[in-house]
Symmetry: C2
Subunit: 586 residues, 2 copies
Amino acid sequence: MPTLRLALCQVNPTVGDLAGNAGLVRSWTRQAADAGAQLVLFPELMLTGYPVEDLVFRRSFVAASRAALHRLAADLAADGLGDLPVLVGYLDADGPPQVSSDAEPGRGARNAAAVLHRGEVVATYFKHHLPNYGVFDEDRYFVSGDTLTVVRVGGVDVALTICEDLWQAGGPFAVAREAGVGLVLSINGSPYELNKDDVRLPLVRRRAAEAGAAIAYVNMVGGQDELVYDGDSMVVAADGTLLTRAPQFVEHLLVHDLELPAATGAPGGTVAPADGMRVARHEIPAIPAAPSGPAADGGIIEPVADEAEVWHALVLGLRDYIDKNRFPSVVLGLSGGIDSAVAAAIAVDAVGPERVVGVSMPSQHSSEHSRTDAEDLAKRTGLDYRVEPIQPMVDTFLANMSLSGVAVENLQARVRGVILMALSNQEGHLVLTTGNKSELAVGYSTLYGDSVGGYNPVKDVWKTLVWRLAKWRNTDAVRRGQTPPIPENSIGKPPSAELSPGQLDSDTLPDYDVLDPILIGYVDGDLGRDGLVESGHDPAVVDKVLRMVDTAEYKRRQSAPGTKISMKAFGRDRRLPITNRWREDG
Amino acid sequence: MPTLRLALCQVNPTVGDLAGNAGLVRSWTRQAADAGAQLVLFPELMLTGYPVEDLVFRRSFVAASRAALHRLAADLAADGLGDLPVLVGYLDADGPPQVSSDAEPGRGARNAAAVLHRGEVVATYFKHHLPNYGVFDEDRYFVSGDTLTVVRVGGVDVALTICEDLWQAGGPFAVAREAGVGLVLSINGSPYELNKDDVRLPLVRRRAAEAGAAIAYVNMVGGQDELVYDGDSMVVAADGTLLTRAPQFVEHLLVHDLELPAATGAPGGTVAPADGMRVARHEIPAIPAAPSGPAADGGIIEPVADEAEVWHALVLGLRDYIDKNRFPSVVLGLSGGIDSAVAAAIAVDAVGPERVVGVSMPSQHSSEHSRTDAEDLAKRTGLDYRVEPIQPMVDTFLANMSLSGVAVENLQARVRGVILMALSNQEGHLVLTTGNKSELAVGYSTLYGDSVGGYNPVKDVWKTLVWRLAKWRNTDAVRRGQTPPIPENSIGKPPSAELSPGQLDSDTLPDYDVLDPILIGYVDGDLGRDGLVESGHDPAVVDKVLRMVDTAEYKRRQSAPGTKISMKAFGRDRRLPITNRWREDG
């Protein structure tokens, strides 16, 4: 049986940064070669980053992706790495990019993978199953490939697949079995989701059984806007045995030796249709010799606790948002409460205390502890702490306008928003906002007030999970002999917006341990009113909560939609690239 | 040849308002019956409104749509209208709604149409071609139907189709020819787009030729969030002759007599596959007798000028946003400039001057004319005019913080935003923001400042079109013997943000007659940098503009995205219904 030394490069590309991403491929391929690798894998759409969204509609971008691929092949050869086959994801299109029609500009685009060898693109594969649910929109952007690409590498037949191909039964993995391959490569841009790692391994095992072949699964890592990729790359044998598994949330080179069945039959040519797909065969004439010395074993990383996993996801997501968008630093308001304390601790873990500014903005309704707890947090974490009292500005508004009730409450939050944005304009910080998912769901926040900000680290974190994260982070600090970052008082005290005398969240909302399970059932569980009541919640509380969620929907929508008079307006169908680095003007 | 009197009901449903939409069907069917109609058509997804988006994932909503359809059939019969066949769009799902799996909750959903007759649902059709581009996401929500439904009505074979079925060649219209039908009904939720009416008629003609049959095309009318439906319903003969055409942007009952070929062959049963689709045949045993008296002729409305068309679209879009969301009134800042003047005139046309509050918010940099032009606008339109000077608040911020440059400029816009939101909280107004599409594209606005607001009537209007709209509206007023609403001075003076002494837009931006063609090429035309230069634009200006657009993308994105840790977070994949009326708690 031939043995192949695989190198799975779990790396962090940036959307639009073709040159930087190609540079990553070159440096990691060098490291893989140094480790004796004979076959190297990079993630889905490695060259362009993922998701590319409306960049797909830019013919200039598709052309640049193709050019970058060919340049990369040449550069790897020039680096002396030409003999090492490298699988890399990139964006392609049928024919020359300029042929795609105006009416359907993206219809010819392909989510593609290429094997580079000796300075050439020797084989390509176009993703077959396109996901079009949740955060995925690939039916909008890509056409589906209908050919399974099989490459003979070191005497082993290896099939190429991309991400969603793994998540649906039938198609490439079934055809791989018919084609008799020994190994399936699966390159991924698979976003993190709580407990997704628990789903991934059984899924890879199921596909290994379907293909009757080992699977090498490589996923990207890093944050891209709202998405964070967790890595979790792995190799699974044909019988379902987990052979090696990489850690989550860090870049990692996973090198592992794999014994594989020798290929039989003719190595080249395209065979007739099988299971609705064709099979195209290629052969790589020579690869680096099997290294001497002990066999490479990538080891198996065990999954961590939920709180640790979420914490690392939030830290990585925030760090990459800051750094990929080139913000020098962040600023956030510190109320002494749990949400801003957790957001600040995440920010400090992400970019260090010297790049985090925390501002206490007390009003006449602020408790003494709102300020001392914020100060305590600043001392524990070492962030840059400031105090900007809001009362003079609030009083001036009140002296010049006739306001009462909720208008006065919201005014205070809005003055704080103006202060944070002024500091952002003056000093260049990204403003962080800190409303948790429970608050956002029921609309317990001030539009254009505490919701002001360029990024929200805890936007997708239910309030009860915010508390659990705080406790986990403090405990973990103690375990490591460090100062717990979050003041115990911020964790223990009853939540309050402090916008009117003695105000508490519980004046308006059910207790969070009642509220969160209802919201989780409604949002995550897709339960309706009746389903929630059937699962044991008090009907009156359910009705109250759902009414708040419906009302809050208006608040979430009040970020200035406007009547479309063209189908190329900004907004949902944005027609402008989301990109961190790509520039049309070169 | 049989003659059928058709009634095309170009009406305005509301998303989520099942009871209200069913009420519309009943009252318009009554009017159609009074006009002697023998077959009545309502738009796509009439019962639920369009687009339903993530409401599709609510099993309770699908069940409610089906229940509403059956109740409607019974109610029409009870109204004495049972003999009149009525075609109505609704949301359906395969099998009982509760069987759709948790993994793919929307996969069984259908964009459906039903013929109601004598208290029963006598035939249904499921949309075949699902649009998944631009504002459409139907691959995400619906499964495609594979059966063409043909109903024999008054001796004529009539095929049912829905919207996108018309926009793609092949499928239902080709099968309709094979099935030998005399008439194809096309029910639509087709959003307005500048010049779309110029595309629609040739398209309907092409499909009439493909089907070899007449086409009755009915479209909804009204605003739904960012979309506005323009109506433009019509009937075209098999030879392509336009027989009747309704006006745009108003509800309209289009009644027209149509001579049609008598059906031959067996009326019922399902025939074998044709062109990938099956054909299911039904027969309606009896319809109301042909009315005596003169033939009904719906007449032909001629298209209006672009400016008139856009103006009516913006007025209708804003009116329905206000009224469907039940806002009592709107408030907006009046700078004396053209954008706020046009937005105010649109608002007054939409809901009347007594529901529009205009606020002049002068600063130390405000010119005399900024106030007098705003006042003049208020007098011309009769809106509720207020003055709220911002200098005391701006001065208090400046006394308490060390700000300079752009931070001071933006502070003024943000104080204005706080004032408008305070008035909104105090008095219940919806805040309108008034940045035009050119400004938004290049980021020439203040985040959380002049961009504050719940709706933007001119969000999708290029600056040069704002001026054309203003001139058209004034000229039209003169033509009708009314006071032109927009002060000539607001139209004629050079644009300025007035955030620093003597500031003009032209200090920062190319002239709008240079800027707009570049932006239009880039955004609407999908031209890249090289394509823009090839079409004659100065390369240095193109590079400058594209750099501004790229930078502005950050500003547009700074409305607090946050790291997703679940696939059911708010945002792009919102997982909560967009609805104006549907309530889970009943």
